[in-house]
Assembly symmetry: C2
Homo-oligomer: 520 residues x 2
Amino acid sequence: MTANPARSRRSGGRAARVAMRESVRDDTRQAVRAGLEGGTYNPLSDHDLRAIHDAALDILADVGIGDATDEVIEIATAQGCHLNAHGRLSFPRSLVEDLLTKAAREYVVYSRDPAHADVHVGGNKVNYCTSGEAVSILDYKSRSYRPSTLVDLYDTARVVDALPNIHQFGQTVVPTEIADLYEHDINVVYAVLAGTTKPVEHTFNTVESIPAAMEMYAMVAGSEQKFRERPFVSFGGCPIVSPLRFAQENLDVLVATSRLGLVNDIAIAPQSGATAPSFLAGALVQVVAEALSCLCVVNMVRPGCPMSFAAWPFAVDLRTGAFAGGSAEVAVSMAAIAQIGRFYDLPTTVAASMSDAKMPDAQMGYEKGITSVVAGLAGANRVLESAGMMASLMGCSFEALVIDNDMLGMAQRVVRGIEVSEETLSVDVIKATVLGEGHYLGAGDTLKSMETEYVYPETADRTSQQVWIAEGAKTIDERAHEVAGKLLADHAVNAIPADIDKAIRERFPIKLERSRMRVG
Amino acid sequence: MTANPARSRRSGGRAARVAMRESVRDDTRQAVRAGLEGGTYNPLSDHDLRAIHDAALDILADVGIGDATDEVIEIATAQGCHLNAHGRLSFPRSLVEDLLTKAAREYVVYSRDPAHADVHVGGNKVNYCTSGEAVSILDYKSRSYRPSTLVDLYDTARVVDALPNIHQFGQTVVPTEIADLYEHDINVVYAVLAGTTKPVEHTFNTVESIPAAMEMYAMVAGSEQKFRERPFVSFGGCPIVSPLRFAQENLDVLVATSRLGLVNDIAIAPQSGATAPSFLAGALVQVVAEALSCLCVVNMVRPGCPMSFAAWPFAVDLRTGAFAGGSAEVAVSMAAIAQIGRFYDLPTTVAASMSDAKMPDAQMGYEKGITSVVAGLAGANRVLESAGMMASLMGCSFEALVIDNDMLGMAQRVVRGIEVSEETLSVDVIKATVLGEGHYLGAGDTLKSMETEYVYPETADRTSQQVWIAEGAKTIDERAHEVAGKLLADHAVNAIPADIDKAIRERFPIKLERSRMRVG
């Protein structure tokens, strides 16, 4: 009489709960994890891919990239580029195609603790990561944003350390209170490494910070050799000012990190309708050209140096010019980039799960949910900006981090897809059940599959209306605020042993007080 | 120095706003609309599809469907079915394959006003529709649910009439105050037809209501002939009790509507782990068998009668047995069904955008966002339950309807994908811009593409943090509550002319008072 299944809901599942508590965790059989295979969603046809590629190479050869540094001009012209009549660095098609064959096909950003997974970047593997370098933090109770600080960076790292569906901690916020670029950079390195043992990412403001940072990585790893064997950091940066110009300071960083063979985890972020064409296909052409120019620079400096194909086609709201990070246009464009990266067989990073909402509300939920799952289904290797980011990337929220952990678990379960085998097809189980007990609750297969087939949210609510009301009729943001508060108070991370911490503090001007930390 | 594009945000866009106001609307060029092409996401391999099909046919032949009515047994055994040793109706493989060739490939549910699109069902076309028959309505201010009424059904229809990204109004709630089945059904028909001129859907509680309903459709259409030429109603119902039994009363309705050649828009809704196997692949096998058995019945009664392949693999939370409509497992299973329907070349309906949240919060947002976009990308022809449904299908919310309209606009824009052509690749525009003005704001292509490439939310917020605070720091649910209140107060729908309304009221026991309606 009715399509409403909730009305015929069965109680029960006690045996299942017992089985789940008693089951030994086997990470390779968990419903979701880092590195699930995506790529079942392909927004572009083969013809589209080829057309975008050809147009991007046309642009690189014909228009080229402006504002190259003398150093890059020297490196590039020695290998076949030339400065065109507009003083722009032109990349011949054959050179780009040659460098594409030399580029790294994959890389790994390592965890510093076996409790967390390494992040394997390449193929169709999908990993979700924070990042964003917001300048403010949501004060949930007062519905306002305050400038972010070094403590916020450390605290967001620590919260992410406790959230299993976020696979890498990238720099969520900047410490706005530190003006000196070197002190800023070195304190970012420390806060990020102290807050979590997960793989991390951050940016440098100045190339001068790199030697000191390398020293600190080596101290934390045990030696530079050990750090190089299992690098646990990737490096953000924006070497392009769209349309089609280099950003000189970031280009210096890119050359320096490439010389060192570090993981170049850049972001190239034109905005359709403002700094890129308003037709999404045209924006793809431009951002692919921009990304390939950086790929050429990196592979001219050090062939095969690990690097992300990190073309981030953003968009503005054309009515107002406002940045629209949580928009459909960004979602589908990022999915196209994942597919284009696969076409080139390059490791990809995209940006998704941004929101233009200011509070962790339904808008935040659907903007993040849609963009995250679309990026994962398209097979983006690293989905950056994917937790905590609000207010068109201007702010970060502890509550959003907690909610996004559940959301990303759901997205990952969708990405994982459906495993079809003789066992999972369940023909014998169906026959036995239909002719026998008549329902599947408590059946052997149900107990067996409950950890491998299903993901269970931690903060999201699946109770009945009656139970929900009895428990205070709370929204998920209210519950997430409580969860975040508890994590901030309790979650200790012993990421840097005391003796190494002491040595780091003696060597560098570390501003994060040990007393402010939770080190277990 | 930073990946944060919001910091370099440009103001402007005045020319764009002017252009948008002045542009003549051309529906075929709008960014989103009913019937966009999906199908770019395919969770199953060809081998998976074949394996599921084979297993389902095995189940239909070997186990069959229990509890067939005498009428259906007579029809079916005359065409090659037989009752097996367990008294269950067995469907031989060759019969199922033969009836699959006779089934309707597409159908249309018509709008009664050119201002709204018809819903074309078949191929890869994607339409989003309400439905759900919840028994309660959210009282937003008090955070509680009250029993739904006939007025709520009419009011939700009226609100949906004003929301462009919802393409069909299916029965959101049941009038819980009407106990008599015939009076209940006839008042549902009236309320649905009075509340909107969009294509509609509802269910019958009893087969006895059908003649009266047919009479009312004819009165509204002008004649029975006119109704049959452009049917504006599809008919829900659940002819299966999982696992693998017929629901006799609904089976009677299915036979009756098939005899009349009406659109059979059923739903078959087993729950993985409870009334279907816990392995998702096994649940697909069972639900495909169940759906094919109904397809066989319909096509034995009237070959080619319009009908949805409406296999809805739901899931429970195996920890508690609670229905988990907003889960990843349901999202990916519904996507698989869309692909299986395409494999059979049958019109599909799936259920998505359900939420287990009780308030229109971030959980609601991401559960609805993920499930909606995944269904659309998979090419489900009609995505039911896709607006307003909350609380594991137990409740409906006016606020959720308003929010979901924006969410569905976003999902549809993703489904639409990226159009690649010489024009959209924008090579000449890029060259001219880079060597000229240096940005694309206000460029000819930007003005031209702003309606065709971009979708603009109505209730979602893209302002700056400062503007948002100045405007009261509201969440989207607070704004949606205001929008819904305004629509309820103001949105008039003149769906049934006064003279016909008078005739209907003279003929049938209509309980919705004319004074309570907004008829413009």
